[in-house]
Protein backbone atom coordinates (compact mmCIF):
# COMPACT_ATOMS: atom_id res chain seq x y z
CA UNK A 1 0.00 0.00 0.00
CA UNK A 2 2.75 2.41 0.94
CA UNK A 3 4.65 1.47 -2.18
CA UNK A 4 1.60 2.18 -4.28
CA UNK A 5 1.11 5.56 -2.67
CA UNK A 6 4.76 6.40 -3.16
CA UNK A 7 4.45 5.78 -6.89
CA UNK A 8 1.71 8.31 -7.29
CA UNK A 9 2.75 11.50 -9.01
CA UNK A 10 3.35 14.03 -6.26
CA UNK A 11 1.29 17.17 -6.79
CA UNK A 12 3.62 19.50 -8.61
CA UNK A 13 3.03 23.00 -7.37
CA UNK A 14 3.05 25.80 -9.92
CA UNK A 15 6.17 27.93 -10.12
CA UNK A 16 5.70 31.59 -10.96
CA UNK A 17 8.93 31.61 -12.98
CA UNK A 18 7.78 28.78 -15.22
CA UNK A 19 4.23 30.10 -15.59
CA UNK A 20 5.66 33.49 -16.59
CA UNK A 21 7.05 32.00 -19.80
CA UNK A 22 3.55 31.12 -20.91
CA UNK A 23 2.41 34.67 -20.17
CA UNK A 24 5.31 35.87 -22.31
CA UNK A 25 4.17 33.62 -25.16
CA UNK A 26 0.68 35.09 -25.04
CA UNK A 27 2.06 38.61 -24.94
CA UNK A 28 4.03 37.97 -28.16
CA UNK A 29 0.85 36.88 -29.87
CA UNK A 30 -1.22 39.85 -28.67
CA UNK A 31 1.43 42.35 -29.60
CA UNK A 32 0.23 41.65 -33.13
CA UNK A 33 -3.45 41.48 -32.29
CA UNK A 34 -3.79 44.48 -29.99
CA UNK A 35 -7.16 45.43 -31.54
CA UNK A 36 -8.64 42.44 -29.71
CA UNK A 37 -7.55 43.89 -26.40
CA UNK A 38 -8.87 47.34 -27.20
CA UNK A 39 -12.28 46.02 -28.25
CA UNK A 40 -12.68 44.25 -24.91
CA UNK A 41 -12.41 47.64 -23.26
CA UNK A 42 -14.92 49.51 -25.39
CA UNK A 43 -17.82 47.13 -25.01
CA UNK A 44 -18.63 47.86 -21.34
CA UNK A 45 -17.90 51.52 -21.92
CA UNK A 46 -20.56 51.65 -24.62
CA UNK A 47 -23.02 49.97 -22.26
CA UNK A 48 -22.21 52.54 -19.63
CA UNK A 49 -22.87 55.42 -21.99
CA UNK A 50 -26.04 53.90 -23.49
CA UNK A 51 -27.64 52.62 -20.34
CA UNK A 52 -26.04 54.68 -17.57
CA UNK A 53 -26.80 57.98 -19.27
CA UNK A 54 -29.48 57.10 -21.82
CA UNK A 55 -31.71 54.97 -19.62
CA UNK A 56 -30.62 57.00 -16.60
CA UNK A 57 -32.10 60.13 -18.14
CA UNK A 58 -35.35 58.27 -18.76
CA UNK A 59 -35.80 56.77 -15.31
CA UNK A 60 -34.94 59.94 -13.46
CA UNK A 61 -31.48 60.44 -12.17
CA UNK A 62 -31.29 58.79 -8.75
CA UNK A 63 -31.28 55.28 -7.31
CA UNK A 64 -31.52 54.63 -3.60
CA UNK A 65 -28.71 52.52 -2.29
CA UNK A 66 -28.60 51.71 1.44
CA UNK A 67 -30.85 54.67 2.09
CA UNK A 68 -28.71 57.06 0.05
CA UNK A 69 -29.65 58.54 -3.32
CA UNK A 70 -26.96 58.19 -5.99
CA UNK A 71 -26.98 59.09 -9.69
CA UNK A 72 -28.05 56.21 -11.91
CA UNK A 73 -24.86 56.32 -13.98
CA UNK A 74 -22.79 55.99 -10.80
CA UNK A 75 -24.95 53.01 -9.85
CA UNK A 76 -24.50 51.23 -13.19
CA UNK A 77 -20.81 52.01 -13.78
CA UNK A 78 -19.32 49.61 -11.16
CA UNK A 79 -21.62 46.86 -12.45
CA UNK A 80 -20.26 47.42 -15.96
CA UNK A 81 -16.76 47.25 -14.54
CA UNK A 82 -17.51 43.91 -12.87
CA UNK A 83 -19.13 42.57 -16.05
CA UNK A 84 -16.14 43.55 -18.12
CA UNK A 85 -13.87 41.72 -15.67
CA UNK A 86 -16.08 38.67 -16.09
CA UNK A 87 -16.29 38.89 -19.88
CA UNK A 88 -12.56 39.44 -20.34
CA UNK A 89 -11.72 36.49 -18.13
CA UNK A 90 -14.24 34.14 -19.72
CA UNK A 91 -13.37 35.04 -23.30
CA UNK A 92 -9.71 34.55 -22.60
CA UNK A 93 -9.91 31.33 -20.65
CA UNK A 94 -12.94 29.58 -22.09
CA UNK A 95 -12.68 30.36 -25.79
CA UNK A 96 -8.98 31.01 -26.28
CA UNK A 97 -7.96 28.31 -23.85
CA UNK A 98 -10.16 25.70 -25.53
CA UNK A 99 -8.72 26.62 -28.91
CA UNK A 100 -5.18 26.26 -27.61
CA UNK A 101 -6.01 23.02 -25.82
CA UNK A 102 -7.78 21.24 -28.65
CA UNK A 103 -6.60 22.82 -31.89
CA UNK A 104 -3.21 24.40 -31.37
CA UNK A 105 -2.21 21.48 -29.12
CA UNK A 106 -0.18 24.12 -27.34
CA UNK A 107 -0.13 22.38 -24.01
CA UNK A 108 0.95 19.05 -25.45
CA UNK A 109 4.04 20.85 -26.69
CA UNK A 110 4.57 22.82 -23.50
CA UNK A 111 4.30 19.84 -21.18
CA UNK A 112 7.33 18.29 -22.89
CA UNK A 113 9.32 21.20 -21.41
CA UNK A 114 9.93 21.80 -17.69
CA UNK A 115 6.45 23.33 -17.36
CA UNK A 116 3.77 21.19 -15.71
CA UNK A 117 -0.03 21.37 -15.77
CA UNK A 118 -0.10 23.56 -12.67
CA UNK A 119 2.22 26.04 -14.42
CA UNK A 120 -0.03 26.01 -17.49
CA UNK A 121 -3.15 26.71 -15.40
CA UNK A 122 -1.42 29.45 -13.43
CA UNK A 123 0.10 30.97 -16.58
CA UNK A 124 -3.21 31.19 -18.41
CA UNK A 125 -5.10 32.56 -15.41
CA UNK A 126 -2.35 35.12 -14.84
CA UNK A 127 -2.52 36.22 -18.45
CA UNK A 128 -6.28 36.63 -18.23
CA UNK A 129 -5.73 38.60 -15.07
CA UNK A 130 -3.22 40.95 -16.68
CA UNK A 131 -5.66 41.69 -19.47
CA UNK A 132 -8.42 42.23 -16.94
CA UNK A 133 -6.29 44.61 -14.92
CA UNK A 134 -5.63 46.76 -17.96
CA UNK A 135 -9.39 46.99 -18.55
CA UNK A 136 -10.05 47.79 -14.91
CA UNK A 137 -7.47 50.58 -14.90
CA UNK A 138 -8.89 52.05 -18.08
CA UNK A 139 -12.41 51.82 -16.75
CA UNK A 140 -11.65 53.47 -13.44
CA UNK A 141 -9.96 56.37 -15.24
CA UNK A 142 -13.05 56.85 -17.41
CA UNK A 143 -15.30 56.72 -14.35
CA UNK A 144 -13.19 59.33 -12.62
CA UNK A 145 -13.31 61.56 -15.69
CA UNK A 146 -17.11 61.27 -15.82
CA UNK A 147 -17.40 62.02 -12.10
CA UNK A 148 -18.86 58.62 -11.29
CA UNK A 149 -16.55 57.90 -8.38
CA UNK A 150 -18.22 58.85 -5.14
CA UNK A 151 -15.67 57.61 -2.61
CA UNK A 152 -11.90 57.25 -2.07
CA UNK A 153 -12.57 53.55 -1.46
CA UNK A 154 -12.70 53.34 -5.24
CA UNK A 155 -8.93 53.00 -5.25
CA UNK A 156 -9.53 49.38 -4.13
CA UNK A 157 -11.84 48.74 -7.07
CA UNK A 158 -8.88 47.83 -9.30
CA UNK A 159 -7.54 45.01 -7.09
CA UNK A 160 -11.14 43.94 -6.43
CA UNK A 161 -11.70 43.78 -10.15
CA UNK A 162 -8.58 41.60 -10.45
CA UNK A 163 -10.10 39.22 -7.92
CA UNK A 164 -13.28 39.04 -9.99
CA UNK A 165 -11.12 38.38 -13.05
CA UNK A 166 -9.25 35.62 -11.21
CA UNK A 167 -12.45 33.91 -10.14
CA UNK A 168 -13.99 33.93 -13.60
CA UNK A 169 -10.70 33.00 -15.27
CA UNK A 170 -10.41 29.94 -13.06
CA UNK A 171 -14.07 29.03 -13.64
CA UNK A 172 -13.66 29.52 -17.40
CA UNK A 173 -10.54 27.35 -17.51
CA UNK A 174 -12.21 24.61 -15.51
CA UNK A 175 -15.36 24.79 -17.67
CA UNK A 176 -13.48 24.54 -20.94
CA UNK A 177 -11.76 21.33 -19.84
CA UNK A 178 -15.24 19.76 -19.93
CA UNK A 179 -16.13 21.19 -23.34
CA UNK A 180 -16.05 18.76 -26.25
CA UNK A 181 -17.17 20.82 -29.21
CA UNK A 182 -17.66 24.48 -30.07
CA UNK A 183 -21.43 23.98 -29.77
CA UNK A 184 -21.00 23.43 -26.05
CA UNK A 185 -19.96 27.06 -25.78
CA UNK A 186 -23.55 28.08 -26.44
CA UNK A 187 -24.11 26.87 -22.90
CA UNK A 188 -21.43 29.25 -21.65
CA UNK A 189 -23.24 32.14 -23.32
CA UNK A 190 -26.58 30.96 -21.96
CA UNK A 191 -25.08 31.31 -18.50
CA UNK A 192 -23.20 34.56 -19.08
CA UNK A 193 -26.02 36.65 -20.54
CA UNK A 194 -28.46 36.22 -17.62
CA UNK A 195 -25.59 36.81 -15.21
CA UNK A 196 -24.90 40.08 -16.99
CA UNK A 197 -28.55 41.15 -17.02
CA UNK A 198 -29.82 40.02 -13.63
CA UNK A 199 -26.93 40.29 -11.13
CA UNK A 200 -28.32 43.55 -9.74
CA UNK A 201 -26.48 45.15 -12.63
CA UNK A 202 -29.12 47.64 -13.74
CA UNK A 203 -31.31 47.96 -10.64
CA UNK A 204 -30.97 47.13 -6.92
CA UNK A 205 -31.48 43.55 -5.81
CA UNK A 206 -34.27 44.73 -3.49
CA UNK A 207 -36.57 44.96 -6.51
CA UNK A 208 -36.70 41.15 -6.61
CA UNK A 209 -39.09 39.14 -4.43
CA UNK A 210 -37.41 37.49 -1.41
CA UNK A 211 -36.71 33.96 -2.72
CA UNK A 212 -35.30 35.33 -5.96
CA UNK A 213 -33.00 37.61 -3.98
CA UNK A 214 -31.55 34.56 -2.24
CA UNK A 215 -31.04 32.83 -5.57
CA UNK A 216 -29.28 35.84 -7.08
CA UNK A 217 -27.01 35.97 -4.07
CA UNK A 218 -25.81 32.47 -4.87
CA UNK A 219 -24.47 33.51 -8.29
CA UNK A 220 -20.95 34.83 -8.76
CA UNK A 221 -21.34 38.04 -10.73
CA UNK A 222 -23.71 39.43 -8.12
CA UNK A 223 -20.85 39.40 -5.62
CA UNK A 224 -18.53 41.09 -8.07
CA UNK A 225 -21.09 43.83 -8.69
CA UNK A 226 -21.82 44.27 -4.99
CA UNK A 227 -18.13 44.50 -4.18
CA UNK A 228 -17.26 47.09 -6.79
CA UNK A 229 -20.42 49.10 -6.18
CA UNK A 230 -19.70 49.23 -2.47
CA UNK A 231 -16.22 50.53 -3.18
CA UNK A 232 -16.94 53.14 -5.86
CA UNK A 233 -20.02 54.53 -4.10
CA UNK A 234 -18.51 54.28 -0.63
CA UNK A 235 -21.43 52.32 0.87
CA UNK A 236 -19.20 49.85 2.64
CA UNK A 237 -20.99 47.18 4.65
CA UNK A 238 -20.28 43.71 6.00
CA UNK A 239 -21.58 42.24 2.73
CA UNK A 240 -18.25 42.93 1.05
CA UNK A 241 -16.52 40.47 3.36
CA UNK A 242 -18.91 37.81 2.16
CA UNK A 243 -18.31 38.90 -1.46
CA UNK A 244 -14.56 38.52 -1.01
CA UNK A 245 -14.89 35.12 0.63
CA UNK A 246 -17.25 33.89 -2.09
CA UNK A 247 -14.95 34.96 -4.93
CA UNK A 248 -11.78 33.57 -3.34
CA UNK A 249 -13.33 30.21 -2.51
CA UNK A 250 -14.99 29.76 -5.89
CA UNK A 251 -11.83 30.79 -7.78
CA UNK A 252 -9.54 28.49 -5.79
CA UNK A 253 -11.89 25.54 -6.12
CA UNK A 254 -12.18 26.10 -9.87
CA UNK A 255 -8.40 26.30 -10.20
CA UNK A 256 -8.03 22.94 -8.48
CA UNK A 257 -10.64 21.39 -10.73
CA UNK A 258 -8.92 22.85 -13.79
CA UNK A 259 -5.53 21.44 -12.74
CA UNK A 260 -6.94 17.99 -12.07
CA UNK A 261 -8.87 17.91 -15.35
CA UNK A 262 -5.85 19.06 -17.35
CA UNK A 263 -3.76 16.37 -15.75
CA UNK A 264 -6.30 13.79 -16.92
CA UNK A 265 -6.63 15.24 -20.41
CA UNK A 266 -2.98 15.84 -21.18
CA UNK A 267 -0.91 13.42 -19.15
CA UNK A 268 -2.53 10.11 -20.01
Amino acid sequence: MIAVLARRRPVQLPAAGRAAHLVERNAILYRREWTLIVSGFFEPLLYLLAIGYGVGALVGSAVTLNGRAIPYAAFVAPAMMASSAMNGAIYETAFNFFYKLKYVKLYDAILATPLGVADVALGEVTWALIRGTLYALGFIVVMAALGLILSPWAILAVPASMLIGFTFAAVGTAASTFVRTWQDFDLVLIVMIPLFLFSATFYPITLYPGPLQVFIQLTPLYHGVDLLRSLTTGSIGPSILFDLLYLVVLGSAALLVAGARLERLLLK
Binding site: P10, R18, R25, Y103, V104, D108, I110, A112, T113
Partner: protein
Protein backbone atom coordinates in the same frame (compact mmCIF):
# COMPACT_ATOMS: atom_id res chain seq x y z
CA UNK B 1 30.38 -6.33 -12.34
CA UNK B 2 29.56 -5.50 -15.92
CA UNK B 3 25.86 -5.49 -15.17
CA UNK B 4 26.08 -2.88 -12.43
CA UNK B 5 28.29 -0.63 -14.57
CA UNK B 6 25.68 -0.89 -17.32
CA UNK B 7 22.95 0.20 -15.02
CA UNK B 8 24.80 3.20 -13.62
CA UNK B 9 25.73 4.54 -17.07
CA UNK B 10 22.40 3.99 -18.75
CA UNK B 11 20.61 7.20 -19.70
CA UNK B 12 17.36 5.30 -19.82
CA UNK B 13 16.85 2.26 -17.66
CA UNK B 14 13.62 0.27 -17.74
CA UNK B 15 12.69 -2.93 -15.93
CA UNK B 16 9.23 -4.42 -16.15
CA UNK B 17 8.01 -1.08 -17.51
CA UNK B 18 4.25 -1.22 -18.03
CA UNK B 19 1.58 1.14 -19.30
CA UNK B 20 -2.13 0.42 -19.06
CA UNK B 21 -5.02 2.46 -20.42
CA UNK B 22 -7.94 1.17 -18.37
CA UNK B 23 -7.95 -2.50 -19.36
CA UNK B 24 -5.77 -2.20 -22.43
CA UNK B 25 -2.11 -3.05 -21.83
CA UNK B 26 -0.14 -0.80 -24.19
CA UNK B 27 3.31 -1.65 -22.81
CA UNK B 28 3.73 -4.98 -21.06
CA UNK B 29 6.66 -5.29 -18.66
CA UNK B 30 9.50 -4.38 -21.01
CA UNK B 31 13.20 -4.21 -20.08
CA UNK B 32 15.80 -2.11 -21.90
CA UNK B 33 18.76 0.17 -21.32
CA UNK B 34 19.91 3.05 -23.48
CA UNK B 35 23.60 3.81 -23.09
CA UNK B 36 25.17 7.23 -23.25
CA UNK B 37 26.09 8.27 -26.79
CA UNK B 38 24.26 5.52 -28.64
CA UNK B 39 21.35 5.64 -31.05
CA UNK B 40 18.65 3.29 -29.90
CA UNK B 41 15.63 2.32 -31.99
CA UNK B 42 12.13 0.99 -31.36
CA UNK B 43 10.58 -0.92 -34.25
CA UNK B 44 7.16 -2.48 -34.26
CA UNK B 45 3.84 -2.58 -36.08
CA UNK B 46 1.09 -0.01 -35.49
CA UNK B 47 -0.18 -0.16 -31.94
CA UNK B 48 2.83 -2.10 -30.63
CA UNK B 49 3.38 0.41 -27.82
CA UNK B 50 6.27 2.51 -29.16
CA UNK B 51 4.69 5.91 -28.62
CA UNK B 52 3.40 4.90 -25.20
CA UNK B 53 6.96 3.98 -24.25
CA UNK B 54 8.40 7.21 -25.65
CA UNK B 55 5.87 9.27 -23.72
CA UNK B 56 6.84 7.60 -20.49
CA UNK B 57 10.51 8.30 -21.18
CA UNK B 58 9.56 11.90 -21.98
CA UNK B 59 7.85 12.22 -18.56
CA UNK B 60 4.47 13.18 -20.01
CA UNK B 61 2.81 9.89 -19.12
CA UNK B 62 3.35 8.07 -15.86
CA UNK B 63 4.15 4.36 -15.86
CA UNK B 64 1.46 2.02 -14.57
CA UNK B 65 4.09 -0.31 -13.22
CA UNK B 66 7.74 -1.33 -13.23
CA UNK B 67 10.88 0.70 -12.90
CA UNK B 68 11.96 3.61 -15.09
CA UNK B 69 14.90 5.92 -14.69
CA UNK B 70 15.76 8.67 -17.16
CA UNK B 71 19.10 10.48 -16.89
CA UNK B 72 19.48 8.68 -13.57
CA UNK B 73 16.32 10.30 -12.16
CA UNK B 74 12.80 9.12 -11.41
CA UNK B 75 10.30 10.64 -13.89
CA UNK B 76 7.48 10.55 -11.37
CA UNK B 77 9.36 12.78 -8.95
CA UNK B 78 11.82 14.70 -11.11
CA UNK B 79 9.75 15.29 -14.28
CA UNK B 80 10.64 18.97 -14.69
CA UNK B 81 14.37 18.38 -14.10
CA UNK B 82 14.46 15.54 -16.61
CA UNK B 83 12.42 17.36 -19.24
CA UNK B 84 14.78 20.31 -18.97
CA UNK B 85 17.48 18.10 -20.49
CA UNK B 86 15.39 16.26 -23.10
CA UNK B 87 14.66 17.10 -26.70
CA UNK B 88 11.35 15.68 -27.90
CA UNK B 89 9.96 15.20 -31.40
CA UNK B 90 6.46 13.78 -30.88
CA UNK B 91 4.78 11.55 -33.44
CA UNK B 92 2.29 14.29 -34.40
CA UNK B 93 3.67 17.82 -34.79
CA UNK B 94 2.66 20.14 -31.97
CA UNK B 95 3.94 23.40 -33.37
CA UNK B 96 2.43 26.64 -32.10
CA UNK B 97 0.17 27.55 -35.01
CA UNK B 98 -0.56 30.98 -33.57
CA UNK B 99 3.10 32.01 -33.76
CA UNK B 100 5.51 32.44 -36.64
CA UNK B 101 8.39 30.12 -37.43
CA UNK B 102 11.11 31.96 -35.53
CA UNK B 103 8.75 32.78 -32.66
CA UNK B 104 8.11 29.07 -32.26
CA UNK B 105 11.77 28.50 -31.48
CA UNK B 106 12.14 31.65 -29.38
CA UNK B 107 9.20 30.95 -27.10
CA UNK B 108 10.09 27.29 -26.81
CA UNK B 109 13.57 28.28 -25.68
CA UNK B 110 11.98 30.55 -23.08
CA UNK B 111 10.01 27.62 -21.64
CA UNK B 112 13.43 26.20 -20.80
CA UNK B 113 14.36 29.46 -19.12
CA UNK B 114 17.01 30.22 -21.73
CA UNK B 115 17.93 33.95 -21.68
CA UNK B 116 16.43 35.94 -24.55
CA UNK B 117 19.68 36.85 -26.32
CA UNK B 118 20.90 33.25 -26.21
CA UNK B 119 17.48 32.11 -27.46
CA UNK B 120 17.67 34.53 -30.37
CA UNK B 121 21.15 33.36 -31.38
CA UNK B 122 20.16 29.73 -31.11
CA UNK B 123 17.02 30.29 -33.17
CA UNK B 124 19.13 31.58 -36.04
CA UNK B 125 21.58 28.67 -35.80
CA UNK B 126 18.82 26.08 -35.70
CA UNK B 127 16.87 27.57 -38.59
CA UNK B 128 20.05 27.30 -40.59
CA UNK B 129 20.66 23.76 -39.33
CA UNK B 130 17.30 22.56 -40.67
CA UNK B 131 17.39 24.84 -43.73
CA UNK B 132 14.42 26.99 -42.85
CA UNK B 133 16.18 30.31 -42.54
CA UNK B 134 14.29 31.94 -45.41
CA UNK B 135 10.96 31.00 -43.81
CA UNK B 136 11.81 32.54 -40.42
CA UNK B 137 9.10 35.20 -40.53
CA UNK B 138 6.39 33.02 -42.08
CA UNK B 139 3.30 31.59 -40.48
CA UNK B 140 3.62 27.94 -39.50
CA UNK B 141 0.32 26.66 -40.87
CA UNK B 142 1.14 26.98 -44.59
CA UNK B 143 4.52 25.24 -44.27
CA UNK B 144 4.70 21.86 -45.99
CA UNK B 145 4.56 18.72 -43.85
CA UNK B 146 8.28 18.15 -44.24
CA UNK B 147 9.12 21.71 -43.26
CA UNK B 148 6.95 21.44 -40.15
CA UNK B 149 8.76 18.24 -39.24
CA UNK B 150 12.13 19.95 -39.62
CA UNK B 151 10.93 22.85 -37.51
CA UNK B 152 9.79 20.38 -34.84
CA UNK B 153 13.24 18.81 -34.90
CA UNK B 154 14.87 22.23 -34.58
CA UNK B 155 12.56 23.02 -31.69
CA UNK B 156 13.64 19.84 -29.91
CA UNK B 157 17.22 21.12 -30.01
CA UNK B 158 16.76 24.60 -28.47
CA UNK B 159 17.81 23.43 -25.02
CA UNK B 160 20.87 21.56 -26.35
CA UNK B 161 19.53 18.26 -25.02
CA UNK B 162 21.77 15.38 -24.04
CA UNK B 163 18.99 12.92 -24.84
CA UNK B 164 16.87 13.24 -27.95
CA UNK B 165 13.53 11.37 -28.27
CA UNK B 166 12.26 11.11 -31.83
CA UNK B 167 8.93 9.42 -32.53
CA UNK B 168 8.85 8.64 -36.26
CA UNK B 169 10.98 11.67 -37.16
CA UNK B 170 10.88 11.18 -40.92
CA UNK B 171 7.39 9.84 -41.57
CA UNK B 172 5.91 11.81 -44.44
CA UNK B 173 9.19 13.36 -45.58
CA UNK B 174 10.39 13.25 -49.17
CA UNK B 175 13.69 11.39 -49.78
CA UNK B 176 15.72 14.59 -49.81
CA UNK B 177 14.27 15.87 -46.56
CA UNK B 178 14.76 12.45 -45.02
CA UNK B 179 18.43 12.44 -45.95
CA UNK B 180 18.78 15.93 -44.53
CA UNK B 181 17.30 14.74 -41.23
CA UNK B 182 19.51 11.64 -41.17
CA UNK B 183 22.54 13.78 -41.78
CA UNK B 184 21.59 16.15 -38.95
CA UNK B 185 20.92 13.31 -36.55
CA UNK B 186 24.21 11.73 -37.48
CA UNK B 187 26.02 14.98 -36.71
CA UNK B 188 24.27 15.27 -33.36
CA UNK B 189 25.35 11.75 -32.54
CA UNK B 190 28.92 12.69 -33.40
CA UNK B 191 28.61 15.51 -30.88
CA UNK B 192 27.69 12.98 -28.22
CA UNK B 193 23.91 13.35 -28.15
CA UNK B 194 22.11 10.15 -27.20
CA UNK B 195 19.24 9.35 -29.53
CA UNK B 196 16.14 7.23 -28.97
CA UNK B 197 13.90 6.89 -32.00
CA UNK B 198 10.99 4.93 -33.36
CA UNK B 199 10.58 4.29 -37.05
CA UNK B 200 8.71 2.28 -39.63
CA UNK B 201 11.59 2.56 -42.09
CA UNK B 202 14.11 -0.23 -42.06
CA UNK B 203 16.73 1.73 -43.95
CA UNK B 204 16.42 4.45 -41.31
CA UNK B 205 16.91 1.96 -38.50
CA UNK B 206 19.90 0.37 -40.26
CA UNK B 207 21.46 3.77 -40.98
CA UNK B 208 21.00 5.36 -37.61
CA UNK B 209 20.64 2.78 -34.87
CA UNK B 210 23.48 1.14 -33.01
CA UNK B 211 20.99 -1.05 -31.25
CA UNK B 212 17.29 -1.61 -31.53
CA UNK B 213 14.41 -3.54 -30.11
CA UNK B 214 11.42 -4.93 -31.97
CA UNK B 215 8.12 -4.54 -30.14
CA UNK B 216 4.98 -6.49 -30.89
CA UNK B 217 1.72 -6.52 -28.95
CA UNK B 218 3.18 -4.46 -26.10
CA UNK B 219 6.23 -6.68 -25.60
CA UNK B 220 9.83 -6.63 -26.75
CA UNK B 221 10.29 -9.65 -28.98
CA UNK B 222 13.94 -9.16 -29.99
CA UNK B 223 16.86 -6.84 -29.41
CA UNK B 224 20.37 -6.28 -30.70
CA UNK B 225 22.32 -4.45 -33.40
CA UNK B 226 20.74 -4.42 -36.88
CA UNK B 227 23.43 -6.84 -38.09
CA UNK B 228 23.07 -9.27 -35.22
CA UNK B 229 19.27 -9.29 -35.57
CA UNK B 230 19.59 -10.19 -39.24
CA UNK B 231 22.09 -12.94 -38.44
CA UNK B 232 19.94 -14.29 -35.67
CA UNK B 233 16.49 -14.13 -37.22
CA UNK B 234 17.01 -14.46 -40.94
CA UNK B 235 19.03 -16.41 -43.48
CA UNK B 236 21.86 -14.90 -45.48
CA UNK B 237 19.78 -14.51 -48.63
CA UNK B 238 16.17 -14.22 -49.66
CA UNK B 239 14.54 -15.35 -52.87
CA UNK B 240 11.51 -13.25 -53.80
CA UNK B 241 9.02 -14.77 -56.21
CA UNK B 242 5.98 -13.18 -57.83
CA UNK B 243 3.29 -15.39 -59.24
CA UNK B 244 0.20 -14.55 -61.30
CA UNK B 245 -2.55 -13.47 -58.93
CA UNK B 246 -4.59 -16.67 -58.91
CA UNK B 247 -1.62 -19.05 -58.82
CA UNK B 248 -1.12 -18.89 -55.05
CA UNK B 249 -3.45 -21.78 -54.03
CA UNK B 250 -1.77 -24.05 -56.61
CA UNK B 251 1.54 -23.54 -54.78
CA UNK B 252 0.31 -25.58 -51.88
CA UNK B 253 3.20 -27.75 -50.71
CA UNK B 254 5.21 -27.32 -53.91
CA UNK B 255 7.85 -25.14 -52.28
CA UNK B 256 8.44 -27.44 -49.32
CA UNK B 257 12.04 -28.27 -48.54
CA UNK B 258 13.61 -25.71 -50.86
CA UNK B 259 14.23 -23.09 -48.19
CA UNK B 260 14.58 -22.90 -44.42
CA UNK B 261 11.40 -20.88 -44.24
CA UNK B 262 8.70 -19.73 -46.63
CA UNK B 263 6.67 -16.57 -46.13
CA UNK B 264 3.58 -16.08 -48.32
CA UNK B 265 2.65 -12.40 -48.61
CA UNK B 266 -0.34 -11.00 -50.49
CA UNK B 267 1.81 -9.93 -53.43
CA UNK B 268 4.81 -12.25 -53.32
CA UNK B 269 6.43 -15.30 -51.78
CA UNK B 270 9.67 -15.07 -49.82
CA UNK B 271 12.01 -18.05 -49.54
CA UNK B 272 14.65 -17.75 -46.85
CA UNK B 273 17.74 -19.67 -47.88
CA UNK B 274 21.49 -19.52 -47.38
CA UNK B 275 21.97 -19.63 -51.16
CA UNK B 276 19.28 -17.77 -53.08
CA UNK B 277 20.44 -18.80 -56.56
CA UNK B 278 20.36 -22.48 -55.64
CA UNK B 279 16.84 -22.05 -54.28
CA UNK B 280 15.80 -20.31 -57.52
CA UNK B 281 16.98 -23.21 -59.67
CA UNK B 282 15.27 -25.69 -57.35
CA UNK B 283 12.02 -23.77 -57.90
CA UNK B 284 12.46 -24.02 -61.67
CA UNK B 285 13.31 -27.73 -61.48
CA UNK B 286 9.94 -28.31 -59.85
CA UNK B 287 8.30 -26.80 -62.87
CA UNK B 288 7.12 -23.61 -61.21
CA UNK B 289 7.17 -20.52 -63.42
CA UNK B 290 7.04 -17.32 -61.35
CA UNK B 291 6.53 -14.02 -63.16
CA UNK B 292 9.67 -12.70 -61.58
CA UNK B 293 12.48 -13.87 -59.34
CA UNK B 294 14.84 -11.78 -57.27
CA UNK B 295 17.69 -12.83 -55.03
CA UNK B 296 18.73 -10.33 -52.38
CA UNK B 297 20.43 -10.21 -49.01
CA UNK B 298 18.35 -10.34 -45.87
CA UNK B 299 17.37 -6.99 -44.36
CA UNK B 300 15.79 -5.86 -41.15
CA UNK B 301 12.43 -6.02 -42.88
CA UNK B 302 12.79 -9.80 -43.05
CA UNK B 303 13.55 -9.90 -39.34
CA UNK B 304 10.50 -7.79 -38.72
CA UNK B 305 8.31 -10.06 -40.79
CA UNK B 306 9.56 -13.13 -39.01
CA UNK B 307 9.07 -11.66 -35.56
CA UNK B 308 5.75 -9.91 -35.98
CA UNK B 309 4.17 -11.86 -38.80
CA UNK B 310 3.44 -8.61 -40.58
CA UNK B 311 5.21 -6.59 -43.21
CA UNK B 312 6.43 -3.31 -41.95
CA UNK B 313 4.48 -0.70 -43.79
CA UNK B 314 0.88 -1.71 -43.56
Amino acid sequence: MAASATRADALVHARGLTKRFDKLVAVDAIDFDVQRGEAFGFLGPNGAGKTSTMRMIGCVSSPSGGELRVLGLDPVIDGPRIRARLGVVPQADTLDMELRVDENLLTYARYFDIPRDVARARTQELLEFVQLKDRAKDEVEPLSGGMKRRLTIARALVNEPGLLLLDEPTTGLDPQARHLVWDRLYRLKQQGVTIVLTTHYMDEAEQLCDRLVVMDKAKIVASGSPRSLIDQYSTREVLELRFPIDAAPALDGKLDGIAERVEVLPDRVLLYAHDGEAAASAVHQRGLRPESTLVRRSTLEDVFLRLTGRSLIE
